[in-house]
């Protein structure tokens, strides 16, 4: 401990590293820690100004400021922004690993200034470019042209309007590896153009890009897609990834509606799969996905984390239901699965529980350690109890031997007996060391749920020994919903 060693009677001052000369204030010496604290409590401008006090102060500031190869610009229409730009432009020719431009607000003069900032990023051969609009600025829906460097390795855009093919590009992005678009108003042609010109692209993430209707990834010279994330692009109809000879997609994430064409080559390299298809009226709409799963399921032996919605589970289980024996041969998949997350969009119905049973039964080599069942939050609309549905499947005997933790979110005991049934099933099957966590929106009283004596005693025993843990979270639902 530095303080104690400094407590010697010889009155020696606390020593900084030998090569560091710290400033002296009125012949008193302070530790670097004290200077750091003083500088970090100053407004940036005042802190920067201390660098001109003396060489020792300059060096102190130099040790504190962030590494020079990364630049963050917070843009607001203001005079200081122009000053900052001019200051930057005097330092051309340096290399930037990262350039991030956060646009808080815009006015009519902003287009030109923003372009100059981004031209500066090109001149500094920025590798990682991030441009994001705050919601205030995004409301004004600014459209501005900007150049992109061919040295770019990663491009992240958030809330940008790319209506027109504004990338005035002819040369390929020979280094672009990752493209990440969040709430970007990009159209098919622009995306397609960028992808075509990026032969090394490995990571594509498209979230909330509602103007896209298709995502097409043509073959590229050295392109080796490892991660593809497509989420909530509401108007998407087609996803076509042309296979590469040694494709190695490791992570695929789809969340959205049904598609008319879905072509994605996957093989045993896939380790993380997230599949959530929403607002589906009948399974017929999911024919495209069903076909994909039929072809791909046998290859999913290395998936370790699987997240699927109840619709997808229905597809997977329908393929795995033992009706057609010919299919059984391909059922030995998901053998590496360690984490299963199930997203239930309505409430847990008999068919969902059936599907879970089928899924667990056909996991031949279960390594599952974590199970999450995410139920929907209570909404204004009350769901009817699933009185018509009846359980078809028997509980699986094996499949949960290695489970360490199971969690049910938004456990809504009041109406839905299949949720309770799932809990009791889990309690019966898992090892005593596995913890089961129920996160409920309201106080849970097991005695009042009309449980059978045997079931109640299973639950009470689990509660008593700490295996079952119930956590109540406050719900923002109006109180009236319950009655």
């Amino acid at each position: 401990m530095a303080h104690r060693s400094a407590l010697g009677r010889d009155g020696e001052k606390m020593a900084a590293p030998a090569d560091v000369v710290l400033p002296v204030i009125r012949s008193r010496q302070f530790s670097q820690e004290v200077f750091t604290r003083i500088l970090t409590r100053l407004p940036l401008k005042d802190a920067v100004r201390t660098s001109v006090l003396s060489t020792a102060w300059r060096d102190l500031w130099g040790r504190l400021r962030p590494p020079d190869d990364s630049l963050e610009v917070e843009y607001k229409p203001a005079n200081s922004t122009v000053g900052q730009l001019q200051m930057l432009e005097r330092r051309k020719g340096r290399h930037l690993k990262r350039f991030s431009l956060v646009i808080h607000d815009v006015d009519e003069t902003s287009g030109g200034l923003l372009r100059r900032f981004l031209e500066y990023a090109v001149e500094c051969t920025a590798e990682d470019l991030r441009i994001g609009l705050h919601s205030e600025a995004a409301k004004k829906n600014p459209s501005f042209e900007f150049p992109l460097s061919c040295h770019l390795a990663s491009l992240t855009l958030c809330r940008l309007n790319l209506d027109v093919p504004i990338f005035g590009i002819v040369q390929p992005f020979s280094s672009l590896v990752k493209i990440q678009l969040h709430t970007v108003s990009i159209i098919d042609e622009v995306l397609c153009g960028v992808v075509k010109l990026s032969p090394r692209l490995r990571i594509i993430e498209l979230l909330y890009c509602s103007r896209l209707t298709e995502i097409i990834v043509p073959p590229g010279l050295k392109r080796n897609l490892t991660r593809l994330i497509v989420a909530e692009c509401d108007n998407l109809r087609r996803v076509v990834v042309v296979p590469e000879p040694d494709s190695s997609l490791r992570c695929f994430h789809y969340s959205g509606g049904s598609l008319s064409q879905f072509h994605l080559p996957c093989d045993t390299s896939l380790t993380e799969l997230y599949f959530c298809c929403k607002s589906i009226l009948t399974l017929r709409h999911l024919q495209v996905f069903k076909e994909w799963f039929r072809n791909t399921l046998p290859l999913l032996s290395n998936v370790t984390v699987l997240t699927i919605c109840s619709n997808t589970l229905q597809i997977v289980s329908s393929l795995r239901r033992a009706g057609a024996n010919a299919d059984l041969a391909v059922l030995d998949n998901f053998q590496s699965l360690t984490g299963l997350r199930l997203l239930v969009s309505e409430y847990l119905k008999a068919i969902d529980l059936d599907n879970i049973y089928v899924f667990l039964k056909s996991c031949h080599r279960p390594n599952l350690t974590k199970l999450l069942v995410q139920l929907p939050q209570i909404s204004d609309r009350l769901f009817e109890e699933d009185l018509l549905g009846t359980l078809q499947e028997k509980e699986p005997e094996v499949g949960l031997d290695k489970l360490e933790e199971a969690k049910i979110m938004n456990f809504n005991w009041q109406w839905h007996r299949y949720e309770l049934q799932l809990v009791i099933f889990l309690l019966k099957k898992v090892r005593s060391t596995c913890r089961l966590l129920l996160v409920c929106p309201r106080i849970l009283k097991f005695e009042e749920l009309g449980l059978k004596e045997a079931e109640l005693s299973v639950i009470q025993a689990a509660l008593a020994n700490g295996q079952l843990v119930v956590v109540q979270i406050s719900s923002n639902t109006p109180a009236g919903v319950r009655s």
Binding site: P23, R41, L44, D46, R49, V52, L53
Partner: protein, 173 residues
């Protein structure tokens, strides 16, 4: 064996400390515990009748620190809003000192590891720097400008935006 005679935590044990210029002070153990250094010494049974020597803290700042710790130790747990307010007022008055005393407190609080006081003195020092020109700050802190005029100009130019407005209030950005 000054420490650990009482588990209840409000032991009336007095801890003796000796300033660099040989003056003796006393404070309750709870107050001494606010200093990381003193706490470790007490835990290691180094607090004896002769007092803990503090080699770099002179009597004047030490008297202030003893005051500070005694006041804060007395009010350490379960503060009501009024008491918290009162402590805040105490802090504000406590740190209204001349710059010489401020720097002594800054060194001493850092050295003795009195976190609350260290924060207070750091904030006060930062307040002194804030909104001043470099020349004013050099004067306040007795800093000798060892730049060549060219070097100084270069730094100002590099961060022109920070040096443009020199009159307080200067925080436009």
């Amino acid at each position: 064996m000054a420490a650990a005679t009482d588990d209840a935590g409000d032991s009336n044990e007095m801890i003796r400390v000796v300033s660099s210029d040989g003056e003796h002070f006393e404070m309750p153990e709870a107050a001494a515990n606010l200093s990381l250094v003193l706490r470790h010494m007490i835990e290691d049974d180094c607090a004896d009748a002769a007092g803990i020597p503090l080699a770099v803290v002179a009597a004047k700042p030490l008297a202030k620190i003893v005051d500070y710790c005694t006041k804060h130790a007395a009010k350490s747990s379960g503060l009501t809003i009024e008491e918290a307010e009162e402590l805040k007022r105490f802090d504000a008055e406590f740190i209204e000192v001349d710059t010489d005393m401020l720097y002594d407190l800054l060194v001493a609080a850092d050295f003795m590891g009195v976190e609350g006081l260290s924060k207070l003195a750091v904030q006060r020092t930062a307040d002194l720097i804030k909104g001043k020109t470099p020349e004013q700050n050099r004067e306040t802190f007795g800093i000798v400008n060892d730049f060549t005029p060219e070097e100084e100009e270069e730094i100002c130019k590099e961060n022109e935006w920070a040096f443009q407005i020199t009159k307080p209030p200067s925080r436009l950005c």
